[in-house]
Symmetry: C2
Subunit: 238 residues, 2 copies
């Protein structure tokens, strides 16, 4: 079976968490909206309810034959056990999912550093509010989230968030560190030394053969100022 | 087995979505932080990593014997099938969870109407930003989310979000409508007539015997201006 992923074609965004899992799994998938032939209109048809299956609110959307799944964490919940990216026991799966949902919360806060008033306004129209929110993010929220994952890694006593079991949550934490380094190099530069386990996990994920190949390929879209992780130097002044 | 729920004692907040499920299930549970004897310190011990089990980032937290689960949607994912609040088939469970995660996204946007700059600042210190964000929320985001759930109810052809199967997602949509009516009576007053299926679902949930008993009991904390749904008239002017 070949999966179909539907996500915006020019950004990493939330879709990247799914792409990382598919790539690490070595799964066959088509990144539909990036195809010049079908492209974004195919994604729009799903969002407009013109295709079969249950109606999603927003991408990413994964199609697996007749199954249409949306919400990043939900997609990973389903993909994980099918591809060795989640453990078999129910408590461990709930734990992986809990970590993923915490990362999802963190990601919203990253997004809101440049869009505190709302997605409908350009960054330039909410820049002053962004400066205030980003200062709060880099001073308080970023250390809080990094500190949480560092403590988890310390308690779990292994290379990964689930101890000895590698999971999609590790891929997602890698993505957070990569994105935060891009968006807030100055803030991260000050914080990394205090979070050695988290940084080591990032490096460990990046050096896995399939990840290294993916990150070096044209399939990995570069971070840019249309995505969630944006580098605006004026928001990285702490 | 008696569950233990750990959540802030003076607000509905995210914990309310779990309380509604436990009440509708008729499950035995202790709302730990509301006990005068043990109270909030017991919750704080978990957050500080001083108790056994995996470390949660934030409440609500559900303890079921040795299992410690956090993240609202994750708790409901686990509780649902155990109490007849989620269907048995995997696609239907994923769908219920997907809807719950969409409600979680919506709830963040409600919260951010009064805290667009961050939770560390008082509302009074971000009131101007709140007015701008709330205007965007009531004009665009609120109709978008309500319209989405209305379309889902139309497509599923039944009384509930999963068609004929009642689920925890229905309880959560009830809670959204109840909270939005409290926080934005003016905006909701204009929108309700356009979303009759959603409003009918709210009423249907409220009249279920266990829900009606719960809502009339002192266990249901009143909406207030410390919670997520806050009534600030100056934010409800659309």
């Amino acid at each position: 079976m070949r999966y179909e992923l539907y996500y915006w074609p020019s950004i990493q965004g939330r879709g990247e968490f799914v792409r990382l899992a598919l790539e690490e799994a070595g799964a066959a998938y088509t990144d539909v909206a990036r195809l010049s032939q079908r492209g974004v209109p195919a994604l729009m048809r799903i969002l407009e309810g013109k295709s079969e299956g249950r109606l999603p609110f927003a991408p990413p959307i994964l199609k697996a034959q007749k199954l249409v799944i949306a919400q990043t964490a939900n997609i990973l919940l389903w993909l994980g056990p099918r591809h060795g990216l989640a453990p078999k026991s129910e408590p461990a799966r709930l734990w992986a999912h809990q970590l993923q949902l915490t990362i999802a919360d963190w990601l919203v806060e990253v997004h809101d550093t440049h869009h505190p008033i709302g997605g409908a306004f350009y960054y330039e129209d909410q820049q002053q509010e962004s400066k205030r929110r980003a200062a709060h993010f880099t001073a308080e929220r970023l250390p809080k989230f990094l500190g949480y994952f560092e403590r988890v890694l310390q308690r779990e006593k292994g290379n990964w968030l689930l101890g000895k079991s590698f999971s999609y949550a590790d891929l997602s934490l890698f993505q957070m560190v990569a994105g935060l380094r891009y968006a807030f190099p100055r803030a991260m530069g000050k914080l990394e030394a205090k979070h050695p386990r988290t940084i080591a996990l990032h490096d460990r994920v990046a050096s896995r053969p399939r990840m290294a190949a993916y990150l070096a390929s044209p399939r990995r879209i570069a971070f840019n100022e249309k995505g969630i992780f944006r580098h605006y130097p004026e928001l990285d002044v702490q």
